[in-house]
């Protein structure tokens, strides 16, 4: 399995700030790779540097083992799915998908276009114009348009951001399946950690132009390398400099049966019912507040409702601690 895309000390400086500040990544062929980070962290700029819309201030972009610095976008074998899809309004869906093939002057265009439209389940909508398609359908046309060119890497710039929540969840599954079916490397940019976790084989977490950690979803969630990564991937409790996820923060009414795990006394400050679980917030003697995620089953075992003002003990298992 080779390396599709490699970034070496890639940097892009604008007057006033460094959007990308020295990134090195190796992205293996055939996987679903995500760039995750808050807005302004440089992930979109990184994408544009790879696509060729910007030239780096420093560093190199290597595509399939070849250096592509200085090459124009039409000279690179990557394709981008834009956030607003950027479908050509004066062309039908069919003509949109065919666009890149016409630029390459390929002969068997019709067959390829049809195959691509079938791949995204739009075979019967080829003659429609973008204005006649729904948001989800437009996104699929954009996908087909890029995939039909069989790029080395498919770049996706927050493609699900413009969809409504229900459609978004459905598209996550569809996109993942699509990637596995075509076997092309997907580089997916998002600020939504749930999206990244559910779809990726690997995630690079970015902050202020730098990569803070690269790893599988489990690695970045359970073993975050920095405080930032921990806090970005999910909620965190900080107790005495130790980090704990709410789902590993436990509550107990008496300390007897805790097998020696440390327990801190605290007072419940609020409870929030979330449907499938309950979030109980309690303030420790040190003044720090911690939130424990309690499943309904657990609550039942611990004798029911937690009330505000009630004294409680917070405890956790050593293995669940996160230190930085």
């Amino acid at each position: 399995m080779g390396i599709s895309l490699e970034l070496r000390h890639l940097a892009k400086h604008f007057p006033g700030h460094a959007a990308v500040d020295g990134i090195s990544l190796q992205i293996p062929q055939g996987g679903f790779f995500s760039l995750l980070g808050p807005s302004g962290c440089g992930k979109t700029t990184t994408l544009r540097l790879i696509a060729g819309f910007e030239e780096p201030t420093a560093g190199e972009v290597w595509l399939s083992g070849a250096l592509v610095n200085g090459r124009r976008p039409y000279e690179r074998n990557v394709s981008t799915v834009f956030q607003n899809y950027a479908l050509f309004p004066h062309l039908t869906a069919y003509a949109n998908v065919e666009f890149g093939l016409r630029e390459r002057g390929l002969r068997d265009r019709a067959a390829r276009v049809r195959a691509a439209l079938e791949l995204v389940q739009l075979a019967d909508k080829g003659s429609r114009y973008p204005s006649q398609l729904s948001g989800g359908e437009r996104q699929r046309v954009a996908l087909a348009r890029s995939l039909v060119l069989e790029p080395e890497v498919l770049l996706l710039d927050e493609p699900l951001a413009a969809l409504d929540p229900k459609l978004r969840k459905q598209m996550r599954i569809e996109l993942k399946e699509l990637q596995q079916r075509v076997g092309i490397t997907f580089l997916f940019v998002t600020h939504d950690q749930e999206e990244a976790l559910s779809m990726s084989d690997s995630i690079a977490v970015m902050n202020q132009g730098r990569v803070e950690q690269v790893g599988t979803p489990e690695e970045v969630y359970l073993r975050p390398a920095t405080r930032f990564v921990a806090g970005f991937l999910g909620a965190m409790n900080w107790i005495n400099g130790v980090g704990l996820r709410p789902e590993t923060t436990r509550l107990a009414r008496e300390t007897g049966s805790l097998n020696g795990y440390p327990a801190r006394p605290a007072t419940i400050t609020r409870t929030v019912f979330l449907g499938n679980c309950i979030h109980v917030a309690a303030r420790l003697e040190t003044g720090e507040e911690a939130v424990a995620e309690v499943s309904r089953e657990e609550a039942r075992l611990n004798n029911g409702a937690y009330s505000v003002g009630e004294p409680i003990h917070i405890w956790w298992k050593h293995d669940d601690e996160m230190h930085f």
Binding site: A51, G52, Y74, A86, F88, G100, E103
Partner: protein
Amino acid sequence: MKRGLAIYAAAAYLFLHLPLATLVLFSFNASRFTLWEGFSLRWYQAVFTDAEMADAMWNSVIIAIVSTIISTVAGTLAAYALWKRSSRLLSGSLYLSLVTPEIVTGISLLAFFQWTFRWLGWHLGLHTVILAHVSFSIAYVAIVVAARLRTFDASLEEAAMDLGATEWRAFRRVTLPAISPGVIAAGLLALTISFDDYVITSLVAGVDSTTLPMVIYAMARRGANPSINAISALIVVIFGAVILISERLREA
């Protein structure tokens, strides 16, 4: 106050349209005097049988078409290039040429032609009129096309390049189709401006390149002649139609 405004507006519109309306009305007057003596098409007949007018009309058409093609191409390309990256000097000059009084443009071009033709041995003629018309039309075209470009989504060009199109092919296959209504509207505008021009044309036209406005002007100077009403009515209707189409395209 609303009622007062409406009444005033009606009066204002009357002021704007009545002069032209009476002109058109009296083009159908049977008499050559300003007394209505019945309906007649004789003045239209006169217009269509006037050889001098036919010649001038022919010249005007040629000049309008050629100069429009040149200025539309030049203006569109310039507007596009300036949209990608601006040049203060060029945009400023284009605006300046719009504001420059026609008489100044006219005499400056006359002086320029006269000076250069001394070396080249050329004379004033249709070609100088065409060049002059190109000169004042370019800015109009550039402005109309620039306005259209402002509503164009730049990411479409990036998408085209991403899919393998060079800058030129992206312009031809994506941008140009998208702005074409604006380009056509600009062309129609340039057409009417060229056709109607008197001041600059009269200065740089040669001996045998008389245009329609020049003929009309001469007739107007000479005295009352209802033929002018007829040709004016024709011009009003045709121009009106062309401009209407142009406006529709601009809003498309």
